[in-house]
């Protein structure tokens, strides 16, 4: 009896499930990288450039570039699909690149389908191009020996792993975007001598691309977001205070009043709302530093030298933070997230519009505490 029931159950199970849509690997064109631009011919339409993997017995070439236009991303994909014998699917998409023009108009609409699709990984990366996405992907594809999609993905990923730039995965962007009191950021890819490279970090106001900060500043921004572990940074410090500790090597430029040190930074920047009325903030930069290399030989014999170096590094970092802050305040975008601190103190009552009005008024006091832990580390 029990066996009969079990048999019946199995049969119903098989019949009722019907057939699951199969997506066999070799019949798919697997989209790896997608570039999104405003179409040049039809300004009301989107143009997508797709780098796909397709597996064909006749050729060893795995990756291929396709493009299509449409008013929506999906329509553009459909258009591109007309040029391919494989079914294009976005399940393996690892990088989406936006053209400068479209990024300035806002990109949140295009992220919508990505975030809702369960097959798309939330850890996929986003980036913007300083020209059009199409140019970077097409020129890159023909010039680099490597597949451009994987190349760009590796490039951004590597910088992220080194903590040089903040995390720029899809979920980071949407998280920051929907969090009142902070603005998102994405890396900017540029074309230099027909080779794509990471140029800067693009700052967004809401979902609109408004300006850039340099990669050095990106590290400082990253420190406000998380604890970084020995990320590399080159700093300019004045020679004068260190004069008596310098060895007698000849610098490249003897007339310069400054020297350069390359350090590894470990630590984070924690911010605090100190004066809710006057919108005064204090950001405390607490870092351990490895001294990797200096442009001139520094003879380190006792702790006094370390003290001097720490002091000079602190001054330099503070200056850099102040420049960064000034820059983003001018853009009226808050990537560091002071608005969030304000919102928390303010019983969660803050709208994005209110913060746009308040943000240019705020003042931040940067306090830098440098602790030189190692010198002569080889990296």
């Amino acid at each position: 009896m029990r066996l009969k029931r079990l048999f019946f159950l199995c049969i119903t199970l098989c019949l009722l499930t019907s057939c699951v849509d199969s997506t066999q690997l070799e019949k798919l064109g697997i989209i790896h990288t997608r570039g999104v631009d405003i179409s040049e011919e039809k300004p009301s339409e989107l143009e997508t450039t797709l780098i796909i993997f397709q597996f064909n017995a006749q050729t060893d070439m795995v990756s291929k570039t396709l493009s299509g236009t449409g008013h929506t991303i999906k329509e553009a994909r459909e258009q591109a699909n007309n040029k391919s014998s494989f079914a294009l699917t976005p399940g393996q998409i690892r990088l989406e690149l936006y053209g400068k023009e479209i990024a300035q108009k806002g990109i949140i609409n295009y992220l919508n389908t990505l975030t809702r699709d369960a097959k798309v990984s939330d850890t996929m990366l986003l980036a913007i191009s300083d020209t059009t996405a199409k140019e970077i992907l097409q020129v890159g594809q023909s010039d680099t020996t490597m597949d451009i999609g994987q190349f760009l993905h590796g490039l951004i990923r590597q910088e992220g792993l080194e903590d040089s730039i903040p995390e720029v995965a899809l979920h980071d962007f949407t998280h920051i975007y929907f969090d009142v009191g902070q603005d998102p950021f994405l890396p900017v890819i540029t074309m230099d001598d027909d080779a794509p490279q990471l140029a800067a970090l693009g700052i967004f106001r809401g979902d609109k691309y408004v300006g850039d900060i340099t990669l050095d500043e990106a590290l400082l921004l990253n420190m406000t977001q998380k604890h970084v572990g020995f990320a590399p940074l080159e700093l300019e410090i004045p020679r004068a205070p260190l004069e008596k500790y310098l060895g007698d090597t000849e610098p490249i430029d003897p007339d310069s009043e400054n020297m350069y040190v390359r350090i590894g930074i470990k630590g984070e920047t924690t911010s605090k709302l100190t004066d809710p009325e006057q919108l005064g903030f204090r950001s405390k930069v607490d870092i351990d530093v490895d001294l990797h290399e200096a442009s001139e030989e520094v003879v380190i014999k006792d702790e006094k030298v370390a003290k001097v170096i720490e002091e000079e590094l602190g001054k330099a970092i503070k200056k850099k933070y102040e420049t960064l802050f000034k820059k983003v305040q001018e853009l009226n975008a808050d990537p560091i997230g002071y608005g969030r601190l304000y919102r928390i103190k303010n019983n969660n009552k803050l709208t994005t519009e209110e913060w746009r009005e308040k943000f240019p008024e705020i003042t931040v006091d940067f306090q830098v505490d440098v602790n030189l832990v190692h010198f002569g580390t080889i990296q």
Binding site: C19, D21, L25, E26, F55, R94, K119, Q150
Partner: protein, 500 residues
């Protein structure tokens, strides 16, 4: 009363020697194997008869006939028993008893006119000598295996466990061709309920013949429909004695080189006695390796089929490219490709097992190298799948129990089909089904998945990781042995070295 007894004895004996010969020859259909000789001795007729292939004829001539014929005495039943220098002498007077014993290798002496017949057991069993274990071969530790002879097997076991506690209970199995079996346990350790259950199952067995211990196992198991064996059948005496020492019950059957061990958990099918002989850390490593291999063996090919057919987004990009490139040439859907290759591996295994050793190796090379390479070049299968299939086949052979290894290999096929039809959902369904099934299984009434479920912390040190010996002072408590403690942990660890 006296009259009744007389009547019974009168029924067959005394009888004329010629008449007896005639009766026996009728019984054995004039078989030439029945040796029946009549000696005239001091006016008496002595009949000596036996089945020639069952007895040791040298001993008959030297011990029995020499004594009987050299002396000038008059022989009676009593004098024969007293004077023949053999200690297995028996008197009997019934024909049925006589026939049974004749088959079992007795030699009979009948003095014409006597009311009883004298018999001596002179069984001569042809048997092979002790050899190394073949199906459960081990690298270190005792190598000897059970043989087909019950007496030899009992002898080996007694040699390993010289304890008066050890019981060999005799139980006859099979109605038409009875076979002797022994229920083996340690009286002071084994759980009485388990012993009674096993004894009852053996005694209640109503079959005409028990072919082998592995067949007996299927008769007396808790559930005969499942694919998983619930008793352990081993050919290693050290494994049997280890289990019996821990309070389990063993059954050995005449003519079978396997001992049944019960109750058994699912996990003990992945334990080898070698784990004990090795140092605890190496032993634990190997044991964990075997659990992982079992998992790999069931899951690897289905996972490949599911991800290539339905879930391409799960595969890491680099791997995706190499899988895709190798799949590009293959004209079949992944499920057929996988079933084809799995079938090929099973074919190779089966052919290798059936063929003589020397040819078997050739089959391995032909199958593995030639067919594998050719299949990839011909574009019938992808080389990545060949790697996966080979790994999972290898993994399935790590199970120390051949029965369990085979079960796991068979399980792969429904899993592959489920994965090919329903993808990951199918695999999840299959695994859930298996887990529920395993949870419901029992071995001699004891839960099959213990000590994981029902959970027993104290027993875990013997199952997943084998702890050092001094922590193994308690027996496997899930089986409720009578005596829980093997040794005192503190005393076992005491060192009485003399420091110099």
């Amino acid at each position: 009363m006296k009259k009744a007894k007389r009547k019974a004895t009168n029924s067959f004996f005394p009888i004329k020697a010629e008449k007896l010969k005639q009766t026996l020859e009728d019984q054995f259909e004039n078989s030439t194997d029945l040796s029946f000789s009549i000696f005239e001795h001091s006016g008496q007729k002595l009949a000596v008869f036996y089945l020639s292939y069952q007895v040791n004829s040298e001993r008959i001539e030297n011990m029995l006939l020499k004594t009987l014929l050299d002396s000038q005495k008059e022989w009676t039943v009593e004098t024969i028993l007293n004077e023949v220098p053999l200690n297995t002498g028996q008197k009997m007077d019934k024909l049925e008893e006589l026939l049974t014993n004749l088959i079992n290798g007795h030699v009979f002496v009948y003095v014409e006119g006597e009311k009883q017949v004298v018999s001596y057991l002179m069984l001569n069993i042809e048997q092979r000598s002790l050899t190394k274990a073949e199906t459960e071969s081990v690298v270190i530790g005792p190598q000897v295996a059970f043989t087909e002879s019950l007496v030899t097997n009992l002898n080996i076991l007694r040699w390993r466990m010289r304890s008066p506690d050890l019981v060999f209970e005799k139980i006859m199995l099979g109605k038409r061709t009875p076979k002797e079996a022994r229920l083996i346990y340690l009286k002071s350790v084994a759980n009485e309920t388990d012993v009674n259950t096993m004894r009852q199952r053996l005694q209640d067995l109503e079959v005409d013949e028990v072919e082998d211990a592995n067949v007996l196992m299927q008769y007396v198991e808790d559930s005969s429909l499942t694919i998983f064996p619930q008793f352990y059948s081993t050919e290693l005496p050290d494994r049997a004695s280890y289990a019996i020492n821990k309070g389990r019950i063993g059954v050995i059957v005449e003519n079978s080189p396997a001992a049944i061990l019960a109750p058994t958990t699912f996990f003990s099918f992945f334990e080898s006695t070698e784990d004990l002989y090795m140092r605890w850390n190496a032993g634990s490593f190997l044991r964990i390796l075997r659990f992982i291999s079992m998992f790999i063996s069931v899951m690897l090919t289905p996972m490949y089929v599911a991800s290539v057919t339905f879930h391409y987004e799960l595969i890491p990009t680099q791997l995706l490219i190499s899988i895709g490139q190798s799949r590009a040439n293959v004209p079949f859907p992944p499920i057929f490709e996988a079933l084809l290759l799995e079938l090929l591996i099973e074919l190779l295994r089966e052919a290798g097992a059936r063929l003589p050793t020397k040819v078997g190796q050739t089959i391995g090379i032909v199958g593995g190298v030639v067919v594998g390479t050719a299949a990839v070049q011909a574009g019938i299968t992808s080389n990545i799948l060949i790697i996966f299939i080979t790994i999972s086949a290898l993994a399935s052979f790590t199970a120390p129990s051949y029965l369990m290894g085979t079960s796991i290999r068979v399980l792969r096929f429904p899993m592959i089909i489920l994965a090919g039809i329903l993808g990951i959902m199918g695999i999840v369904f299959g695994i859930s089904f298996l887990i529920i099934h395993l949870l419901r299984l029992t071995s001699l009434g004891r839960p099959y998945l213990t000590p994981i479920y029902p959970f027993r912390m104290v027993d875990l040190n013997k199952v997943l990781i084998r702890f050092p010996q001094q922590f193994q002072g308690k027996r496997f408590l899930s089986f409720r042995p009578k005596d829980r403690v093997r040794f005192n942990k503190k005393k076992a660890h005491e060192k009485k070295d003399i420091d110099e």
